[in-house]
Symmetry: C2
């Protein structure tokens, strides 16, 4: 399989969902899946599914469908899920703790190595996890390889933190603070949960 | 302003982001905004922005732009954010607690009334919040008006919970468990955080 440089943004955004569904099918020991079945799961058309997979050279067979494991692996490789990543979490509040505890990330190669907070003494994670004081962040980054920083702090701290991370060579950030951050030379994925709540509100009011 | 029935799915998905940006501009006391500026914030074209707003009858003035407050209110009304909602959270783990504590939701009219868990005695929220045992859910729903249930439980419980909620007349669910649930007659917004992490992984490997 060839990594195409011409995958559209819309297709890219669907890849994680394809990956997840294919993984679920794999866990159910389902070996083959049709574009129609995947289309139904993603609420798009079957021709859109076939078009998506054509972009990176995966072709199903008429009346036979796609090989679930192969397709899952191909999409995983495009998403970079065939590698391992060292991850740190900054902010040991409820969100930070939930992410630290969620085993689903390490299953995909995201290894959470440490969690930082401004208050270590009074945190329930003390002695339970590799909880470090935020003042130790620089030293830690100097001594350990880190690929991704997950930010779960107050939104006022995010820009400064990102700049500090960039100085230390960490350019990939998963941001849970409710502020969209764009910094040249960094890859920042902002999660904004209220957007999903607003969509729920729209749909319950418009019944769609 | 007229609520159009013909708003496309792509436009609908952009509405929460428009709303959020307009709110930020409002907080900065900015009264006018151009389609170009909004386009930049959303990484789409200015003509797409104008097209989106035309759909529901909001028109900017050439060289003058859109009135920030009016536009924010119009989009808010389309999203149903001009109303109040009674919300319960099911699952008082880290995610449930984070949502309970986040003030951003009540600012938009989502009033969190109670939080349920299978274990009340050993939960740090005991005596801090309206924490109730899950066995009290039926009675609670019988006695209190609830518009939205937020599910933050293990994924194995979600389908049963949704069916129980539906029986009690609650048809709107915000689901944080890592499983996509579709139930006829219910509006379920599934948040799947790993999808966002996979996109980050794609972008850091493809530099886009």
């Amino acid at each position: 399989m060839q990594k195409s440089k011409n995958i559209s943004e819309a297709t890219i955004k669907r890849l994680p969902r394809y990956y997840r569904y294919l993984k679920e099918l794999e866990q159910q020991n389902i070996e083959r899946v049709s574009s129609e079945k995947l289309a139904l799961l993603l609420s798009i058309t079957a021709s859109k599914v076939r078009q998506d997979f054509c972009t990176f050279g995966a072709f199903g067979m008429q009346g036979y469908g796609y090989d679930v494991t192969n397709l899952r692996k191909e999409i995983g490789a495009i998403l970079g899920l065939d590698k391992e990543y060292n991850v740190i979490i900054i902010g040991a509040g409820n969100i930070g703790k939930a992410l630290y505890r969620y085993s689903g990330f390490s299953d995909e190669g995201f290894r959470i190595k440490a969690i930082f907070d401004i208050d270590v003494e009074n945190n329930s994670f003390k002695n339970k996890a590799n909880l470090l004081h935020i003042d130790e962040l620089n030293n830690y980054l100097y001594e350990h390889p880190v690929d991704i920083a997950v930010i779960c702090t107050q939104k006022e701290m995010v820009v400064d933190l990102c700049n500090k991370l960039k100085e230390c060579g960490i350019t990939s950030v998963w941001n849970f603070a409710p502020i969209d951050v764009v910094i040249p030379g960094m890859v920042i994925e902002n999660i904004n949960m209220s957007e999903s709540l607003f969509l729920l509100s729209y749909r319950m009011n418009n019944n769609k």
